[in-house]
């Protein structure tokens, strides 16, 4: 059977990997290509590169880094950040990306999903949703988690999948950076609502959190994290061994 996946996420700005706490206070961590190779060698099942550069000019540097990574790393690469048009899809796919994740770009223009799915296939289009509790429900936020779109999260995700998104990344703003565990409640709702693979993001602080994720949400496909991997708090080979010991199917 297909294994559960462990995915380090690399936020890239000015050619370097950074990670914010609750999206604020960025701190420089390492070189993207070196870190990507390191993760691939330590058993990461996939990598996510997130381009958080602000200006159009800096996009060139990001794609160069992406190319350099794809020349050296032979596991699936998902790229997100600043994806607003199918031309953006084209730009990163040509540099070795396998999947492209859309977030604010799809909120502004939902048909981007169907257009990209038609051009590159459903498996290529990932909807990444930043979700936060508001009142009794879950809402989708845009612009890196800063703006409440007012849209109910589960129906938004379903709509994206209906339009052709082949995979979903659920990033819980409430649990992100807190290192208190994944947002199990939210992830259960999402996995019950869609049939495509769902990746959990936000909240990983320990190996136990990953065990809890895969045990509590059996339909979840992958766990994604950044800082716990970047700062070496969790080592991927140890994590995967521990998960396997707990009966979770892992590629080791």
């Amino acid at each position: 059977m297909v294994t559960k996946r462990i995915i380090p996420c690399l936020d890239v700005k000015d050619g370097r990997v950074v990670k914010g706490m609750n999206f604020k206070g960025l701190s420089d961590v390492s070189s993207p290509v070196e870190l990507a190779k390191y993760y691939s060698d330590s058993g990461a099942d996939e990598l996510v590169f997130y381009d958080i550069t602000a200006s159009y000019e800096e996009r060139g540097l990001f794609t160069e880094i992406l190319k350099e990574t794809a020349r050296n790393v032979f596991i699936p690469l998902t790229v997100g950040g600043g994806i607003n048009t199918t031309a953006d899809f084209d730009r990163v796919l040509k540099c070795g990306a396998d999947k492209v994740s859309v977030n604010s770009g799809a909120i502004r223009n939902p048909s981007l999903i169907s257009e990209a799915a038609k051009l590159y296939g459903d498996q290529c289009v990932v909807i990444s949703a930043d979700v936060k509790r508001v009142g009794d429900g879950f809402r989708v936020f845009s612009k890196g988690g800063r703006i409440d779109t007012g849209m109910e999260a589960i129906s938004w995700i379903k709509r994206c999948v209906d339009m052709g998104a082949g995979e979903v990344v659920v990033n819980s703003i409430d649990t992100d950076g807190v290192k208190g565990g994944f947002d199990i409640e939210l992830l259960k709702l999402v996995t019950a609502a869609v049939k495509v693979p769902v990746i959990a993001s936000g909240g990983a602080g320990s190996t136990g959190h990953f065990i809890d994720l895969f045990k509590s949400v059996p339909d979840i496909d992958a766990g994604l994290a950044a800082s716990v991997f970047h700062f070496g708090e969790i080592k991927i080979p140890d994590l995967k061994l521990e998960l396997r010991k707990n009966g979770i199917n892992m590629r080791i």
Binding site: V2, D45, R71, N72, F74, I75, G121, G166
Partner: protein, 202 residues
């Protein structure tokens, strides 16, 4: 020299990089003369079968590949490129493949348990069914990366490996000089690179 057939389907950046990484000499081409002069042919492919099949027939590349393969040139199809080696595909209608291997390609929908997600996306283990130079460095239980909604059936005479996804699904095929992988070796880490090295050395 390996000729990677470029017929406008998918992007070949990672495939080229992975062949470079194993020290193989490869060229991306749609030039019939280059393909004719190459030692080996690599047929990639992603997307819809009928669209890819139509594009491959433009300029007669399909006939050229059949001709070269029948002459004994080593041919490796990857993903949709593997599916095209068979007689037919039933992806949105019935379409003729290259007919180099016996068997056809069918959808997962309705043929695997409903609880399983389609497409199959992710890492899955290989069950090896035969010996072949392509798998010189590949071992039972090695994990490789799959992204597919269709798979080959009726190919018992060329079955090289399967993978478990609700049932045994064709993962790799090989018969003489013609072989194929349903998975993506260029995205399967060390295991994938080893298979590409084996193809290059074959």
């Amino acid at each position: 020299m390996i000729a990677i057939v470029d017929y406008g389907v998918g992007n070949l950046f990672s495939l080229c990089s992975s062949l470079e990484a194993v020290g193989a000499e490869a060229v991306v081409t749609s030039d019939p003369d280059v393909i004719r002069n190459a030692d080996k042919i690599l047929l990639p492919g992603v997307g819809a079968f009928s669209d890819a099949r139509r594009k491959l027939s433009q300029g007669g590349l399909d006939k050229l590949i059949i001709e070269e393969a029948r002459k004994g040139k080593k041919l490796l199809g990857i993903c949709l490129g593997m599916q095209m080696l068979f007689e037919y595909s039933y992806e949105y209608g019935k379409h003729e493949g290259l007919g180099l291997l016996s068997g056809s390609v069918v959808g997962m929908e309705g043929t695997i348990p409903e609880s399983l997600k389609i497409p199959e996306i992710g890492w899955n283990a290989l069950k090896i069914k035969a010996e072949h130079p392509l798998f010189k460095y590949t071992h039972e239980g090695d994990f490789v990366y799959f992204v597919h909604s269709y798979y080959a059936v009726g190919c018992e005479d060329s079955l090289l490996a399967t993978t478990e996804y609700g049932k045994e699904i064709t993962a790799a095929v090989a018969k003489g000089n013609i072989c194929g992988a349903q998975f993506h070796p260029e995205k399967s880490g060390e295991v994938g690179l080893k298979m590409l090295r084996a193809f290059a050395e074959w």
